[in-house]
């Protein structure tokens, strides 16, 4: 037994005593109902059990092989941003009570967690400017897919009009989720100059009945869409408007809910979640009261205890898989509760003024960098629309070579945009509040030099 970690807790004498109590001689007899030919005859072929320090040195070694936003200055975005995470977020989210609780099925001993989830719903509701928000779905991509399904279910229509400026990964997941559900997806194109949704394309798609118009702002080029117009056009044709957003931008950008969006979804990573090589992140979905019965996932609400005192509990479970089974609004069971906690703590720390400043600083720095890069010979901004903190530039050299060159000098300079637009020589660059003026200037200098060397 000596080689087992301290979290195995039965001693040999305990096991004997228990087997006796159960009335069997051995573990083998205990499970003798398992057909003998199925029983594994040899030990699993796994590495020898590691002590904690061996584990640590193995994992530290693996981690050290990866480049990261610590080893390189990170100008990567694409829906995931290197915003600062205050230490308080980690401090709170690592508290064992939160970390090791399950879904609060027993509200009497989960009022703390229920308050967290309820406040998460309220705070995100304000950010999106919608009255109803759920307790999270897996990520931004599945939030899009679930939102789309909400629109289908609520409208009774099975056609979706979808902007092609949504993150490509999100679109792929949308397609996957809809593929077998008798849903027709019509993509609308974008204006190559402005980098925004092509309104003519939208208008023509709207000639046929549809469940919803779905768009994202800022979009996959970093460009802000005219959400107000998109929503109006959808509503004129009795379509729901489903709008994806970048939560941090909402510190200064008008909320989709304010423009009348019926469903607002987002990837929540920018609100206090580590980059973590892609996850866990968090999908957020908000909507109007009228659509609440179509929401996927958990909802927390006010109730009363038997003394009549206010209390919180999971509500509207009749939407969910454990009650409604195959007719549920979604299959989601485990969600991203701990990420919701992080986000709530993050937003509580930032508050009105903090989020505004994070958004403003990110925008200021991105606009500074873009303007400076534009001054470099051969570089031009790819799109004319307004951007928040992420922008595309066209470069006169092979983009992936440029990225590689800058990487060698300590920068993850941007995402190659070829997949978006078939352009080989386009870079998507994101800037957050954490990049200092010195860093930006240094980057501009190295960028310019690298360009020279490559051309």
């Amino acid at each position: 037994m000596a080689s087992l970690p301290g979290y195995n807790v039965l001693r040999e004498q305990d096991r004997s005593h228990m087997l006796e109590k159960i009335g069997v001689d051995s573990i083998d007899q205990l499970i003798d109902f398992i057909p003998a030919n199925l029983r594994l005859q040899q030990p699993l072929d796994l590495p020898v059990a590691m002590s904690e320090w061996q584990l640590k040195s193995h994992l530290t070694e693996l981690a050290s092989q990866n480049e990261s936003a610590d080893s390189h200055v990170c100008f990567l975005g694409g829906g995931v941003y290197d915003h600062h995470i205050p230490a308080v977020v980690d401090t709170i989210a690592s508290r064992g009570e939160f970390l090791t609780a399950y879904t609060p099925y027993q509200p009497e001993i989960s009022q703390g967690l229920l308050r967290v989830l309820s406040d998460f719903q309220l705070v995100v509701g304000r950010l999106f400017d919608v009255p109803v928000v759920n307790c999270s779905v897996y990520d931004g991509a599945t939030a899009l897919a679930e939102s789309a399904w909400m629109a289908i279910s609520a409208s009774g229509e099975n056609r979706l009009i979808v902007s092609d400026t949504i993150w490509p990964e999100h679109l792929e997941v949308l397609h996957l989720y809809m593929a077998n559900r008798d849903v027709e997806i019509e993509m609308i194109s974008h204006d190559e100059s402005a980098g925004t949704c092509d309104l003519a394309s939208l208008e023509s798609a709207l000639q046929q009945p549809a469940a919803a118009v779905i768009a994202q702002s800022p979009n996959c080029f970093g460009i802000l869409e005219d959400v107000k117009t998109l929503v109006q056009k959808a509503h004129q044709k009795d379509c729901l408007a489903v709008i994806g957003c970048y939560p941090t931008s909402l510190g200064i950008i008008e909320a989709p809910g304010t423009h009348g969006a019926d469903i607002v979804y987002a990837e929540g990573q920018s609100l206090g979640l580590p980059l973590a090589a892609g996850g866990p992140y968090m999908g957020m979905i908000g909507t109007r009261e009228a659509l609440i019965d179509f929401l996927p996932g958990r909802l927390v609400g006010e109730t009363k205890d038997i003394k009549g005192e206010p209390a919180l509990a999971l509500i509207k479970q009749e939407r969910e898989q454990h009650v409604r089974r195959h007719k549920a609004t979604s299959h989601i069971c485990s969600n991203q509760a701990l990420m919701a906690l992080r986000t709530l703590v993050y937003l509580s720390l930032m508050g009105e003024s903090g989020l505004r400043r994070v958004a403003t600083l990110s925008a200021q720095k991105a606009h500074y960098l873009c303007a400076e890069l534009e001054k470099v010979a051969g570089i031009s901004k790819s799109y004319q629309g307004a951007f928040f903190n992420e922008f595309c530039i066209d470069v006169p050299v092979n983009a992936s070579k440029l990225i590689e060159k800058l990487r060698q000098q300590g920068f993850h300079a941007g995402i190659e945009c070829s997949s978006h637009d078939n352009s080989q020589d386009r870079l998507l660059i994101a800037v957050t509040e954490t990049k200092s003026l010195d860093t930006l200037n240094h980057f501009i200098q190295v960028f310019t030099q690298s360009l020279k060397k490559l051309s």
């Binding site: 159960i22 199925l38 594994l40 699993l44 530290t60 970390l99 802000l224 009650v323």
Partner: protein, 500 residues
């Protein structure tokens, strides 16, 4: 409301109540940028006057959430025998590893060759999972069990598509977890329900009668959510395979099997694993988990992209160009930090350790069942696997009330229909599903048993204490309004609310 509120009142206070406009912001400042002026180009869009976010000082945030955490019960505070959820101890060492900057600070859009350590970890983990389950290939992408189900079902779909077969039905036992039928529906399948026999096993005859060319697969978990191992599993597998159908394994109950039996050896073709159950990753108050999906070799080409595997030069890489793949089930590579913890768990235990985990999980459940059988007879008269289904029908009190009283004695209630997320048919509606897990020691089990017995004795002498329990919590008993709830449930609303 006042930030100087006492601890107990914290749960009644929302962050808005604590807001003092003008505070907050946590020192967001940069000496070289003013942080106020909106870039001109943006001004048309940046018209938001206020967000309505609360404004708290840092100390108020820390206090509020520290207090709230104290009003939340987790495994770190006591036993949590919530059946089907495998609330085992979550080793702290694993959390620390996932936080290493070389993992936590990696941006997913970095050049693919900039994270070789991550790919090695993925590759190792996939191999270990394959070994543990007897499958051939794994994808680590799914976000949770339900998401693993979706992935697996879409893989099955793609398999039949490639064979030009049109199979539209998924068979599901009546005791299946709600996610099974829900995932099947999301994959465009029709669900057909198989009854459970009196012995608690799948009704093989009923299944046989439902088999035809339309059946794509049977989804089951073994041991089932009734805590029983289905000894007919090989026959079930053979019957299905003879019908050209596949067998899906819901791995939520894998904690009973490691090192003892492997789903792959039983004949399952596709499986998912709940890392947040079997592999000890923290539940986090409801998530995130991870739901790796494993398949037999013939299904491997259909796994979602990216696929982490060795290329022709023997290097491990993430491959996106997989023509037969079902596509992408979520952004990027899965719940990386959760997967790291699962990997650490496997490495800490090794083969012997994992077998001990499962042996002890089964032992603990049977010990609970034996020790409580006079009060709470097993629903099925046989030994259980890692959880036991006990009948509260003989109690002279509502089992829902009974379990709430356990809270007063430091024990989290077991799973009942409606409290926890299992589903039993009406016959077992007084049943309790108790899953102690292997990380509760004999001393803890004996204490839990003593608490169950104490409450049972209380029925005769002070049943009001039970009916009004819990008494030690800050809020009193909360009951969901069941009649309203059920009526709402029955009146299956027409989907007419197309909104304007």
């Amino acid at each position: 409301m006042n930030p100087g509120t006492t601890l107990k009142a914290a749960r009644r206070v929302s962050v808005f109540d604590l807001s003092q406009p003008g505070l907050g912001g946590s020192g967001i400042t940069d000496p070289d940028f003013d942080g106020e002026h909106i870039p001109d180009e943006l001004s048309e869009f940046a018209t938001r006057k206020n967000t309505g976010l609360p404004e708290l000082s840092e100390v108020d945030v820390v206090r509020h959430f520290t207090r709230l955490s104290q009003d939340t019960f987790g495994v770190d505070l006591g036993p949590y025998p919530l059946g089907s959820c495998t609330m085992k101890y979550n080793p702290k060492r694993n959390d620390a590893m996932a936080d290493l900057p070389g993992f936590a600070r990696v941006h997913p859009a970095q050049p693919k060759d900039s994270m070789p350590g991550l790919w090695t970890l993925f590759h190792n983990l996939q191999e270990h999972l394959a070994e543990i389950t007897g499958m051939d290939a794994f994808t680590l992408q799914p976000a949770a069990g339900a998401h693993g189900e979706l992935t697996g079902l879409l893989t099955i779909r793609r398999h039949f598509e490639s064979k030009k077969q049109n199979r539209s039905v998924i068979l599901i036992p009546d005791s299946a977890h709600g996610t099974n039928p829900a995932s099947a529906a999301m994959s465009g399948y029709i669900c057909k329900i198989i009854p459970t026999t009196k012995e608690g096993t799948l009704d093989v005859e009923a299944m046989r009668s439902m088999l035809d060319g339309d059946v794509a697969a049977l989804m089951m978990t073994n041991p089932s959510t009734l805590g029983l191992f289905d000894p007919n599993i090989e026959e079930i597998a053979k019957t299905l395979h003879d019908n050209g159908s596949l067998l899906y394994y819901d791995g939520a109950n894998l904690n009973a099997l490691m090192g003892l039996v492997r789903p792959g050896d039983m004949g399952f073709d596709v499986i998912h694993i709940n890392t947040h159950k079997t592999l000890s990753t923290p539940h986090g108050g409801g998530g995130p988990g991870a739901g790796p999906c494993g398949v037999k070799a013939f299904l491997e080409p259909y796994l979602p992209i990216p696929v982490v595997t060795r290329n022709d030069h023997g290097e491990i890489e993430a491959q996106f160009d997989r023509p037969l793949s079902i596509g992408r089930v979520k952004s990027y590579f899965g719940h990386v930090s959760i997967l790291i913890k699962a990997y650490c768990y496997i490495l800490s235990n090794g083969a012997e350790g994992l077998r001990m985990v499962s042996e002890n999980a089964v032992l603990n459940a049977n010990y609970m069942q034996s020790s409580l059988s006079d009060l709470l007879p097993p629903v099925f008269q046989q030994r259980c696997m890692h959880e036991c289904l006990l009948s509260g029908g003989d109690l002279d009190v509502d089992p829902f009330d009974f379990v709430k009283r356990l809270i007063d004695f430091g024990v989290h209630p077991p799973t009942l229909v409606g409290a926890g997320c299992v589903h039993f048919s009406d016959e077992y509606d007084a049943a309790m599903l108790i899953e102690p897990t292997e990380t509760e020691s004999l001393a803890v089990l004996d204490d839990m048993i003593a608490q169950f017995r104490k409450v049972a004795r209380e029925v005769a002498v002070a049943r009001y204490m039970i009916e009004t329990a819990p008494h030690t919590t800050d809020v009193a008993k909360i009951i969901t309004d069941e009649p309203a709830f059920l009526s709402m449930l029955e009146a299956d609303k027409p989907c007419d609310s197309k909104s304007s």
